[in-house]
Structure formats: structure tokens, C-alpha cells
């Protein structure tokens, strides 16, 4: 035994040029994890934070106590929303590469998280997303043109040209504004949930962040306040293994699961297969019911994989093996739900290809419409006067003077 102190620096299991190695990943067989009553005490369900809730087995059957028994039509809708998210992402990635938008972030491989969760929630529930939750918008039905206009910062941009692409918001759809400062939305969601409880309303708040951002103080603030006030909130850690180039060990994932932080605070923690649409749906339904009946908050860790780059600004081949995603043991969420539906006799490769083509045509048509509202390079442009609005409710005299000065510079 060494008798000296040592400094441990976490290292991913494989780097570029090496064979992908996911031996660190602990999984449970589909159907193996019991589903406790939604009122269960945190101390009695500690296993949920370390086991892995899975419903879809290797033969694409839905098995076990977490099987949510959704109608076939629901499953098909879920598949469609996930596919739409993916097709939209692919097209927007390409427009970025063509220089038509400045920046983009895909959610490849993580589509089940947003789509299954949004479907398991009620329309009145308030969502506080991170920047890789575009599936929420697909499920809640925001027109694609609106999202694209935001990406283009054009005359119909919901953010009036003030935010980086993908930082959407939608008050009417109950989706909160995305911040570029990570994790800040987590404790805000708890505050929102506290207010709902103060007012005696039964809408709940739901928030997401990546495992990397769980290192921020805001994660811990949220956990603490959620526990102290037993706020009706679902807090989601999307563990996609990578925070830009930093693997999840640097966020503390080497020693203990992220879900295990829940019981540490006295909050139910569930570790779920984030690429299993049915499992994500089921744990969300469980957590929502728990929150809604006053039984407390839940921390859900979605074990998934960031299939794409962090954003259009980085190249993952510089920090992880090229074929890492292909070797990910939990597969692809779209493929898995597709194969499940095929196994049920309710889907086929032909229908899948046809749906993909149909969604792609929708996205292309929406893009054609979006660019008529302006692009970065070509007009029409937003009136730059708008930059002085919404800093305060009313434009103060100082900003009126600065606006005048800016106008005088234009002529």
C-alpha cells in the first residue's frame, strides 16, 4: 500500500485512435428494477439511484414493472417527434456549415429524453430546459418556422436578435428562456415550483442540465431548495458522457452515479436508460405523479450519449474515438423505438423511410418560409432600435439618448 497522499486525475476509458471502452458503464437487465409506489420514502428506494431502469430488452420487447403500456398511436407519435428532432437537427447543422446560421447544437442520440418526457407531462407543466432539449418544442408543437427564425436572428426572431441560436423561449407553450450560463435554470425551476405550491396549483416544474453543468453551484442550490421545501419539481441530469471535451468523470461521475446525489439530499434519485423511450416515459410519469401529489421532488439521471459534437464549434474527433457513439452499449433511441414498433407489427422500414422523407420535406418547406423573414446576410433586417427595448419595462431617458446617437451613426 502506498503511504503517500495522491492526486487522482480522472481519465476517459478511450481517446482518439483507441478502441471505444464502455466497461465502466453499469447497467441492469431490462425489466429487472422494481417500480416502487410513487409515495415511497427516499430511504427505501436508494437502489433506483444506482440501478438502471430499462424497459426495452435486446429483442425489442417492452418488459417489466416500468412498462408504461402506451397505446400504439402514442408510440408512433413519440417516434415521429424524435425523428423530426433529428431531421431538423441535421438540416440546421447543414445550414450552419453553409454559413447561413452562425451556430447550432444537435441533440443526436438524446432525442428520447426531451420527447418522452414532454409527452409524459401535462401541457400546464413549466419546462426549464438546457440548450439540447429541442424535442420539447417538437412535442409542444412550436412551428418549425419560428425556431428557424430564431436561428436566423431575422425579423421574426422570437428573441429579436438578442440570443445565440438555439436559445429559444416560449411563454405560451410554457417553455422557459434558455440561458447561455449553464445550470442557472435549475434553481429557478425550483422557485417556480415553490410558487405553484404556495398558490395551491398542481402544475409542476421540470428542468434539465447536462452532467457537466451539475458541477455548478446552481445544481446544488436546486437540490437543496427542492429537498428543504419538497418542491413539486423534476430535476433531470442528462448524462451524455461528454461536456465538450471533458468526460463525465470530471463532473464527479467516476465515484458515484449522478442520480445518487438525490438520496444525499433526501430526494428520490432514479437512474434511467436515457435511450429507452419507454423507460424515460415511465420514470417521468412516476416522478410527475409523485410531485403532483406532494410526495416530493425527483432527480432523474438519463444515461445517454452525445452522438454529435457539443456544438458546431468543436470537433469530437480531437478528444474521443471516432466510432465511440456506434459502440455505445445503450444504442440509439430512434432505432430502438422503431424496432420495438416493428416487433409489435405496427411499423416497418418502409413506413419509417417514408416518414423520414415526409418530415424532411416539412423541414425544407419551413426553411424556405423562414428565410423570407430575413437571413443574417440578406434583409430584411430587424430594426436595430429594438436593442434598446426590454432592458427595463419602459425605455429610460438615458437609453432614448443612446438610441438617438446610434441612429445618427447610421446616416
Amino acid at each position: 500500500m502506498p503511504r503517500r497522499s495522491r492526486l487522482h486525475t480522472p481519465k476517459p476509458h478511450s481517446r482518439p485512435g483507441e478502441k471505444p471502452d464502455f466497461s465502466y458503464l453499469e447497467t441492469s437487465p431490462a425489466g429487472a428494477v422494481p417500480r416502487p409506489d410513487v409515495n415511497a420514502r427516499v430511504r427505501d428506494i436508494g437502489n433506483l439511484a444506482t440501478d438502471l431502469v430499462r424497459v426495452l430488452d435486446d429483442e425489442h420487447r417492452a418488459v417489466g414493472p416500468w412498462h408504461p403500456h402506451l397505446e400504439v398511436a402514442e408510440l408512433q407519435i413519440g417516434l415521429k417527434h424524435m425523428l423530426l428532432t433529428r431531421v431538423f437537427d441535421d438540416r440546421m447543422q447543414r445550414t450552419q456549415r453553409q454559413g447561413k446560421i452562425t451556430f447550432y447544437m444537435r441533440s443526436l442520440g438524446e432525442e428520447a429524453v426531451s420527447v418522452a418526457q414532454a409527452m409524459a407531462l401535462r401541457p400546464g407543466d413549466m419546462l426549464f430546459p438546457s440548450y439540447r432539449n429541442q424535442g420539447l418544442y417538437m412535442v409542444r408543437g412550436r412551428p418549425l418556422v419560428d425556431l428557424m427564425c430564431q436561428l436566423l436572428s431575422n425579423t421574426s426572431d422570437m428573441c429579436k436578435g438578442r440570443q445565440l441560436p438555439v436559445m429559444y423561449h416560449w411563454a405560451a407553450g410554457r417553455i422557459f428562456s434558455i440561458s447561455g450560463n449553464l445550470a442557472t435554470q435549475f434553481p429557478q425551476a425550483v422557485g417556480w415550483a415553490m410558487a405553484a405550491a404556495i398558490k395551491g396549483e398542481d402544475d409542476i416544474a421540470v428542468s434539465w442540465l447536462g452532467e457537466g453543468s451539475s458541477a455548478e453551484a446552481d445544481f446544488h442550490y436546486a437540490m437543496l431548495f427542492a429537498a428543504v421545501y419538497q418542491a413539486p419539481v423534476i430535476l433531470n441530469v442528462v448524462n451524455n458522457q461528454w461536456a465538450i471535451s471533458t468526460f463525465q468523470g470530471f463532473a464527479g461521475g467516476e465515484q458515484r452515479s449522478f442520480a445518487a446525489r438525490g438520496p444525499g439530499y433526501g430526494i428520490a434519485g432514479i437512474r434511467v436508460d436515457g435511450n429507452d423511450f419507454l423507460a424515460v416515459y415511465a420514470v417521468t410519469q412516476w416522478a410527475a405523479e409523485r410531485a403532483r401529489r406532494g410526495a416530493g421532488p425527483t432527480l432523474i439521471e438519463h444515461v445517454t450519449y452525445r452522438g454529435a459534437a457539443h456544438s458546431t464549434s468543436d470537433d469530437p474527433a480531437r478528444y474521443r474515438p471516432k466510432d465511440d457513439y456506434e459502440k455505445w452499449p445503450l444504442g440509439d433511441p430512434v432505432e430502438r423505438l422503431k424496432k420495438h414498433l416493428i416487433a409489435l407489427g405496427e411499423w416497418s422500414e418502409e413506413r419509417h423511410a417514408a416518414l423520414t422523407a415526409e418530415l424532411d420535406a416539412q423541414v425544407v418547406a419551413a426553411w424556405k418560409e423562414a428565410v423570407t423573414h430575413g437571413t443574417l446576410g440578406e434583409g430584411p433586417r430587424l430594426n436595430p432600435d429594438t436593442m434598446f427595448e426590454d432592458i427595463f419595462k419602459d425605455v429610460p431617458p438615458r437609453l432614448v439618448r443612446q438610441r438617438e446617437q446610434m441612429r445618427s451613426e447610421q446616416t
Binding site: R162, P187, A193
Partner: protein, 333 residues
């Protein structure tokens, strides 16, 4: 002033069921300075919430509550403790309306006691107001007397924009002229200590002419209002004394009108000098009043050091420092 602030929250909690108060020790105990005394007994534990010691979480939760229709009044126990909440204040609270193009906003008031002269040492004496004025999207207010404190706090709670409301704790119990050896004076002796029982507001963004005068304009706020008054009296100057009251928005017109009249200006604040709010005041006054100025604008402030426990009065910008600046400005050729 403590009772005046308490009354402001009491009135607003009665008038508007969406007003809630949260912070460390604010509930059962009524606050370390007693400002929230009795509110939890009257309005219950769901409207006056004791919180964990987590300033960032207090402000974040207040933002979430504000987005969900409440009108939170968050207390940060000492202004010195506000820094963990700064990301939530600067990047979130101040920016939410802007980044969502008006779809989301949070009408949060953050009350916090500031300033020294109470043997608080370097972690219970700071005046961080300038930091907040540098962030677009937050209003920054500091009353100097009970009447203004109540009227401004009601205005802040009713305001749909976020307000950082700084309470100079040295004058919580009475005006203070900078001399720690004199017997303390209570607010009951002071004209602005008289506070109406009911609802009224003092508009945010209006400076107050504390004393009209002709020889020099003193621009100040908080505790320094009384120090400046005493300093001017001590050297027999007919000074016009302006209490800024609100730094954002700033009533620059009242200030420049006064300096244009007197031709001389001293700015005084307790906060450290370098990049203090006095720098903004000085620049703005100079731009507007250059041809009217008979002397350079001087600033009186705390030294650019932390606020030391043992040398509180050497640090504090007392009457001697103010009088020195006034003499220099008056004698300028």
C-alpha cells in the same frame, strides 16, 4: 427606518397576495436587523419563508417565483454576502426580459443592508452599489431616511423591473453625522423620521434636494447625506445637498441643474473610490456642466482598501475628509 421598511412590506403583503418575503432568518426570528419582524406571524410560513444559507439559491428561487406570478422580496442578510448570487442577478434577473424579448420577467426586489460604521469589519461593512449599476437591467436604490425608505421600498415592490434595494445600516436607528463619539440620535427627532402609517410611494429615479444652497453642490446618498450636512455646516458653507436616492435610473437633470447653478461639486460615498459610483457621477456632471464649473469635481470616498475592523474611523469618509474636499473646491483658482 427599520419600522418604516417593515411597514412597507406589511402594507404590500396586505394589498397584494402575490407578495412573498424570503431570506435567511427573516421568518420566525424576523431578521437579524428585525426588518421583517412579525411578518411571518401575520402572513404565515408560505408567504414569509426562512431559507437555507444560500444567497444564489435565494435569488434564483425568487426569479422562478417571479416568473410564476409572485412578487418576491428577497433579503440578503448583508450586502457583503450578495456575491454568490451575482450570477443569478447579473446574468439572469437583469437579462430575462431582454433575452426573451419581453415574454418572461421577474419583479424581484432584493433588499440588503450595506455600509459600515457598525464595527462589522471587512465582511459586514461593504457598499457594493456601483457593481450593480454596471449591469444593464437592474434598478439600484439606496434610501437615507425612514420616509424615503418606506416609499421607495413600496415603489420597488410594485416595480415590474428588478430592484436591488440597499439599506445603509448605520442609519437604521437614526441619522449619523460621522462622529462615532457623539451620543446617537433617534429618528424621532428628524423631519424625515416621520412616516405615515398608510400606503405611499417615493418614485424611483428622483433625487432629493436635502438642503438648498448656493455655494457648492454636494452629491451623495445613504449615510453620507448626514456626514456631508455636518461637514458643510462645520465650515460655514451654504451647500446644496442632493440625495441621489436612486442610482439606476439616475436623476441626472436635478444634479446638473444644481451644479450649473453653484459651479462647484463634491461627490461623497462610503464605498471605495476607484471605479465607485462617484466616477460615473463625476463624468456625467462634467459632460453636462463643463462651462459652468469653477473648480474640478472632487470625490470623497472610502479608501481603496477593505473596510478594516480596527481602523473603522480612519477608513470612514468622515466630516474631516468631506470638509477638506469642500475647502479645496471652494478655494480653487
Amino acid at each position: 427606518m427599520i419600522q418604516a421598511l417593515n411597514s412597507a412590506m406589511d402594507i404590500m403583503m396586505t394589498r397584494d397576495p402575490n407578495v412573498v418575503v424570503l431570506g435567511e432568518d427573516v421568518g420566525y426570528f424576523g431578521g437579524v436587523f428585525r426588518v421583517t419582524d412579525g411578518l411571518q406571524r401575520k402572513y404565515g410560513e408560505h408567504r414569509v419563508l426562512d431559507t437555507p444559507i444560500a444567497e444564489g439559491a435565494i435569488v434564483a428561487a425568487a426569479i422562478g417565483m417571479g416568473v410564476n406570478g409572485l412578487r418576491p422580496v428577497a433579503e440578503i442578510q448583508f450586502a457583503d454576502y450578495i456575491y454568490p448570487a451575482c450570477d443569478q442577478i447579473f446574468s439572469e434577473l437583469a437579462r430575462l426580459r431582454y433575452r426573451s424579448a419581453g415574454e418572461f420577467w421577474a419583479p424581484v426586489t432584493i433588499r440588503t443592508p450595506c455600509g459600515g460604521g457598525i464595527r462589522g469589519g471587512q465582511t459586514h461593512s461593504q457598499s457594493p452599489e456601483a457593481i450593480f449599476t454596471h449591469v444593464c437591467g437592474i434598478k439600484v436604490v439606496m434610501p437615507s431616511n425612514p420616509y424615503d425608505a418606506k416609499g421607495l421600498l413600496i415603489a420597488a415592490i410594485e416595480d415590474d423591473d428588478p430592484v436591488v434595494f440597499l439599506e445603509p445600516k448605520r442609519v437604521y436607528n437614526g441619522p449619523f453625522d460621522g462622529n462615532p463619539n457623539k451620543a446617537s440620535v433617534s429618528w424621532s427627532e428628524h423631519a424625515r423620521g416621520e412616516v405615515p402609517d398608510g400606503y405611499y410611494t417615493v418614485p424611483i429615479g428622483k433625487a432629493d434636494i436635502v438642503r438648498a444652497g448656493s455655494q457648492v453642490t454636494i452629491v451623495t446618498y445613504g449615510t453620507m447625506v448626514y456626514v456631508c450636512q455636518a461637514a458643510a455646516e462645520s465650515i460655514g458653507l451654504d451647500a446644496e445637498i442632493l440625495d441621489v436616492r436612486s442610482m439606476v435610473p439616475l436623476d441626472i437633470d436635478t444634479i446638473t441643474a444644481s451644479v450649473s447653478k453653484t459651479g462647484r461639486c463634491v461627490i461623497a460615498h462610503e464605498a471605495t473610490l476607484f471605479s465607485g459610483f462617484g466616477a460615473e457621477l463625476s463624468a456625467s456632471i462634467q459632460e453636462a456642466c463643463f462651462w459652468k464649473l469653477e473648480a474640478p469635481i472632487l470625490r470623497v470616498a472610502g479608501w481603496d482598501t477593505p473596510y478594516p475592523h480596527a481602523f473603522e474611523w480612519e477608513y470612514f469618509p468622515g466630516q474631516a475628509r468631506v470638509a477638506g474636499a469642500l475647502k479645496t473646491v471652494m478655494e480653487w483658482r
